[in-house]
């Protein structure tokens, strides 16, 4: 039967884990937005040399699993003298992965802004920088919002592999409690409930926004 006393007892542990999941998730996502914007602008403006690096970065980041990236960072890098805490590794890994997804989202947003917009901005006497900041970016960002939200959900889900580098996130908490108290059903049910509490709101916002924007090419 369902052991409610057990659920009551471990609930605080899950709450703490959920906070960690959300906190590291948000930090990683914010960083990946910055990386993504910079990369998208470099690609859009076709800046030589840097453009090559960005393209290589995007390919590497999109074609390797986060878990392997984290293993290399947390267990491999210390061998050549780079020691990072699990928290830093987790955020850095998420940003490394998310940066390329965000870059793609922003780039398709930038590409969707018609050239006439830029030309009109120039003819109004704006310089390159001003045209970018006041005319192109705002339009690009708003068209890329659905893809952007899909990426956020994707990245929040990806945080579940943080358990591999000993971060006490929801996944590890559930696994650890199964190993400590052998209550599999309750631990797994709580795991599902907590992930739903984190991801469902974001997903609902995503659905509403998608309906508003109706932009083709939704999805990661």
């Amino acid at each position: 039967m369902v052991d409610f006393a057990y659920i009551e007892r471990v609930l605080p542990l899950y709450e703490r884990a959920a906070v960690l999941t959300v906190q590291l998730g948000i930090e990683g996502i914010l960083l990946s937005i910055v990386i993504g914007l910079v990369c998208a602008l470099i690609l859009y403006e076709k800046i030589p040399v840097l453009r090559r690096f960005v393209m290589i970065y995007i390919e590497v980041s999109r074609n390797t699993p986060l878990l392997v990236q984290l293993f290399f960072m947390y267990y491999g890098l210390p061998k050549i003298g780079i020691v990072l805490t699990p928290e830093v590794c987790g955020v850095a890994g998420l940003a490394f992965l998310g940066g390329s997804y965000m870059a793609e989202a922003f780039r398709s947003g930038l590409d969707s802004v018609e050239n006439i917009q830029r030309e009109s901005a120039y003819s109004l006497g704006m310089n390159r920088m001003q045209a970018m900041c006041y005319v192109i970016l705002p339009q690009a960002v708003s068209t890329s919002i659905p893809a952007f939200l899909a990426n956020i959900i994707f990245l929040l889900k990806e945080t579940s592999v943080f358990s591999a580098i000993s971060l006490m996130d929801l996944m590890f908490t559930a696994k650890d409690l199964i190993g400590l108290y052998y209550k599999t059903t309750e631990s797994l049910a709580l795991l599902v409930v907590f992930y739903l509490m984190i991801l469902l709101p974001v997903s609902i916002v995503g659905a509403v926004v998608e309906r508003r924007v109706r932009y083709a090419g939704f999805g990661a």
Binding site: E59, V60, R62, N63, T64, P65, L67, V68, Q69, F71, F72, Y75, G76, L77, P78, K79, I80, I153, K157, E158, T159, S160, V161, S163, A164, M171, A174, K175, I178, T184, T185, L188, L191, V192, Y195, L196, L199, L200, S203
Partner: protein, 224 residues
């Protein structure tokens, strides 16, 4: 040149074992995608039905699979089903089940939007030619949909191969676990093995996923 711990890979069958481990990941993804395609087409067709209940159930399935991290699904199937249903699944089977559930959902959604994107006059032309509803589906609609699906399914394969790294966490001995075993067996002689081994695994994953994505991109360009 600092010690990068690459020499352990030259010992015994170590490098070969890494390849074997990676092959398990590729096999699981390929098998899952092969099963997912027919199921996904079925789901996609169901999703375009007018019936409210069918639409609600398929939508619910799709959203649940999409919202749950794959690792959680793996845990639910691997530990949950054995507990509540008395099934006894090896990790590999659990992985295939989860990937098929996921692949079917993704594929179903793609089929749904592909079906909806096929203009109405195609259906009407089929009817005008005297084809039955089923014949219209089989000879006119599905072939057009399938072609659009191939590049996307290849894309899904890369995502699956990447996700197979998670099966380490349900105890399947795949490339990361083999890597750990190699590091562990050589801890005394090559203390820096972790760097070399994980770097090689990183590169191996990249080579496989990158070549698959390149193929997808090529097909997309060719057929669009």
């Amino acid at each position: 040149m600092p010690d990068l711990g690459l020499e352990v890979l030259m010992k015994g069958n170590n490098l070969l074992r890494l390849f074997d481990g990676l092959w398990i990941a590729v096999e699981i993804s390929l098998l899952s995608i092969v099963i997912s395609i027919p199921l996904g087409i079925l789901l996609g067709i169901l999703m375009t039905r007018k019936n409210r209940l069918v639409r609600f159930l398929t939508k619910f399935y799709l959203e649940f699979i999409r919202i749950m991290p794959q690792l959680v699904l793996l845990f639910l199937v691997f530990f949950g089903t054995t507990r509540s249903m008395g099934w006894n699944l090896p990790g590999e089977t659990a992985a295939v089940i989860v990937f098929v559930m996921w692949g079917t959902a993704e594929m179903g959604d793609l089929v749904r939007s592909a079906l909806l994107s096929i203009p109405g006059h195609q259906y009407e032309s089929g009817k005008a030619l005297g084809l039955s509803r089923r014949q219209t589906y089989f000879y006119i609609i599905l072939p057009q949909t399938l072609r659009r699906l191939i590049p996307v399914s290849i894309n899904l394969i890369t995502r699956m191969i990447k996700t197979t790294s998670l099966i380490l966490m349900i105890g399947v001995v795949e490339v990361l676990k083999v890597g750990q075993q190699i590091i562990e067996a050589n801890r005394m002689v090559s203390p820096n093995a972790a760097f070399g081994v994980f770097l090689v695994i990183f590169i191996l994953y990249f080579v496989i996923c990158w070549s698959v994505s390149m193929t997808a991109r090529y097909l997309e360009r060719k057929w669009s």
